[in-house]
Symmetry: C2
Subunit: 501 residues, 2 copies
């Protein structure tokens, strides 16, 4: 009956196939492709990316979207398809405004900039990277100006990674958080640091992999709907709902790194695996809200994974797989995984100081996009803010502004989503405990699957049907607030470090 709808569904299927193939080409490139095959691989990636862009900006596609948006058609669609048409029409119009030539040269500039960043980071020399960064900044401004000519560029960027939050809200909750965090951090700093020496040693990589598999299984990762591999940096990738994969990076001298990466990426993957299969082929199976996605990885990694109760049912098993842990009392271990201490590198930061790393980046991004601050002033500004927020100062730019790859490839506006995710987690924790009782009790009793089930039921299965703000409203009955996260931090660290909350 509805011929356009069927055509549209077929068209989406084809686009999804390109997406599937591109995802696999990248996954394989990061996990397995040998050095001498990289050039051919990059050529294939470029070709199929261009084809995908062509499909997503084709007139034929636009006509279908417009036809389905007309009331007499739109009203006959089910909810998932209505959301899909609305969202994809917006994307279509955005991308259609980008000249193909500009799109290609922007992609090229980003690739060159990424390479320059890698070198610059390696030699801790910002001047090598500066001209590339300058170009990427100006082209990113142009890019979002094409997309949304009437909107503030940074607002558009924020919206790309976490739809519907916006800088007014972020300003407000980040300030709230900063205000609560700085005195808390001071109290933690005034207490003695946990002793980490018991963990020193060399840990067999093969056994670490078995620990990873054990942890993934424990938190609810479905091995029949995913796979694991190794890569330089851990990541999660979705080929389809039935195939969501995680990578890890193992270090002989640091077993905690791979353990918490496994829990973190496992959290992302469980989200991807748990989306309602009925949404397959619609926009709802694609979760581009990075804050919401990050909230799920961080919920497993921090809210659950850094509790004594999380480890209680599996600590003996951990000791079987990595015998060194048999000699480390569980209490010592739980202090070690909650060592809060200012440090220079975001990805190695604890859950508390991590927040300040993000606030720093967010403030700099606003300075870049709103105050047009010269690129050459950025390293100094970074270091000053680091000192202001965390009381430490990088000795070189590799430990400072060059540490993250995000800006090199134009992902401005992405950083805030990490911290939004943590704030959602504070709220989800409250809602979960209100409904199911103490998380510690549930974990201690080995009922972690009830928590995973709660997250699936309330969040995962909907995919991107709801915006993050709507999810918070439904699950927590509240608007975004920093207080629950602050409350969680204060409670937890007062107890762990023995000061008054």
């Amino acid at each position: 009956m509805n011929e356009t709808l069927n055509q549209f569904k077929d068209y989406l299927k084809t686009m999804r196939r390109y997406d599937h193939v591109l995802t696999l080409l990248f996954w394989d490139l990061s996990t397995q492709a040998p050095e001498k095959g990289v050039e051919t691989r990059m050529d294939a990636i470029n070709y199929f990316s261009t084809e995908e862009f062509r499909l997503s900006t084709a007139d034929e596609y636009g006509q279908m979207l417009k036809k389905l948006s007309e009331p007499e058609q739109f009203d006959t669609l089910d909810e998932a398809m209505q959301i899909t048409v609305k969202r994809y029409l917006r994307d279509y119009e955005r991308y259609k405004r980008i000249p193909q030539d500009f799109y290609s040269s922007y992609a090229e500039a980003k690739t060159r900039s990424e390479r320059a960043w890698e070198k610059a980071k390696h030699s801790a020399d910002f001047t090598e990277f500066a001209p590339h960064l300058e170009k990427v900044i100006s082209m990113t401004k142009e890019y979002v100006h094409y997309m949304e000519p009437d909107q503030d560029p940074y607002e558009v960027l924020l919206d790309l990674y976490e739809e519907g939050i916006g800088s007014a809200t972020i300003d407000c909750v980040f300030d709230e958080l900063k205000e609560g965090l700085l005195p808390l951090l001071q109290k933690i700093e005034d207490s003695p640091r946990p002793d980490l020496s018991a963990l020193e040693g060399t840990y067999d990589i093969q056994s670490q992999k078995e620990v990873q598999d054990m942890l993934l299984d424990y938190i609810g990762f479905d091995a029949d709907a995913g796979a694991t591999a190794e890569s330089e940096h851990p990541f999660t990738t979705d080929l389809c709902i039935g195939d969501v994969r995680v990578t890890n990076h193992f270090k002989e001298e640091d077993p905690l790194s791979a353990m918490f990466s496994a829990i973190h990426e496992g959290g992302h993957a469980i989200f991807g695996q748990s989306i309602d299969p009925a949404y397959e082929g619609t926009a709802l199976e694609q979760v581009n809200m990075m804050g919401l996605h990050e909230s799920q990885s961080r919920f497993f990694e921090n809210i659950l994974g850094r509790r004594a109760s999380f480890w209680k049912p599996i600590y003996a098993k951990l000791g079987e797989l990595l015998p060194q842990f048999q000699k480390i009392p569980q209490e010592t271990f739980c202090h070690a995984i909650n060592d809060v201490h200012p440090s220079l590198i975001r990805t190695e930061a604890d859950e508390v100081t991590y927040c300040l790393h993000i606030i720093l980046r967010y403030e700099l991004e606003k300075a870049i996009f709103r105050d047009n601050i010269p690129v050459n002033d950025l390293p100094q500004l970074w270091n000053d803010k680091m000192e202001e927020l965390l009381g430490i100062r990088p000795e070189n730019d590799a430990e400072g502004i060059l540490q993250d790859m995000h800006w090199s490839d134009g992902s401005f506006g992405y950083f805030p989503s990490y911290l939004l995710g943590s704030m959602y987690d504070g709220m989800f924790l409250e809602a979960l405990e209100k409904e199911k009782g103490s998380v510690d009790t549930i974990l201690e009793e080995g009922r972690i699957q009830e928590i995973t089930a709660w997250l699936k039921e309330n969040i995962h299965r909907y995919g991107s049907r709801y915006t993050s703000a709507e999810v918070l409203e439904h699950v927590c009955g509240q608007k975004l607030s920093a207080q629950p996260l602050l409350h969680y931090f204060t409670e937890k660290y007062a107890r762990l470090y023995g000061f008054e909350a």
Copy 2:
């Protein structure tokens, strides 16, 4: 200047990208894709296969090929491009004659037949598979009739897998071989079998993987231009000259299986990795001559890998990785890997009786395609031939006609290439020893890389520039003959089993 040539080269690049992607989709499906992702994967494979078929039968492509075939254009092309145009025009015309609908339903029938075969093999029930086999046979006849309406269908099939040999030659050399092999096998059978009990035990899988890597490195596999993984059955796959991958299958109780698979697949891979990079983008980098390809895997596996001299430089290393071998004298080991004895399963057969397994299949394929023998008579015919050639009879069809997948997916005409490969090996061995002296001396002195270099220089680098017959002419100065292989077998086993040659 030559606009058509440039267009053609671009078109080939695009086709190669589809090939790259399809190869990766299959590789990942066999090595890593989880159960729940298979449906989406199969959909992507079907879609991109259809696109590839469309590209290879497009009018636009045919016009380019025809234009480049005209003398005034053709004469300006370099040799690689001339061969490419000739070969691809032939393929284009062949495929163009196949109706798209027939192509799709043939593909579907083969997929269904493969599944039916799997089940039938599992339950050892030929009747389940018979109707599918009948359909695949009749459709394969139709398929090759479309391709080459004026030729004998089985001749066309043979040509698909080993161009330019043909059944007249195969009849002749297979008969020659059979005649020599049967008395040799009788002599071996009359001698005492080697004692294999020293090898019994359980072998750590992780260590077996290290043995694999050691063997691949030893024979000359370039790890920067390839990768390894696990799959149900070992295979080699070429993504490009710089990325040729091998799989293996490890069994705790049988370390020899994975060791010889590694050497075998490594031989295929070294061939793929060693093709002249100047041939990239031409037909010459694609080696569809399965006999020639198989000759390279079997040269490493059998001609080299089953010699005491091959193991001498690495036997101590093998013992380090798998300590059980420290207790097995090298002589016992070398007898064990040369245990010649009639058995029912082709893939588990020794290098001598293997030949007879192929002759059996070749004779049956001729009966199917030339004598139109009814499908239901095939199991009995199989078993009778088995008894005639090897003196043993399968107890059920899983050990008989159902053991191989080849016929289920229409790969009739493929089997002979395995044995042709072995016969080429006999000839290559003669040529190599004539030029470089005793292979045993070279191997004992740890100079195996000189043998690999000789194979690269004389065979690999040319890719498919020459047909197998031309390679034999160039490298050995002779036409195909079974005598060198027979000579190699007789010499070797007379020495090993202590009878008179």
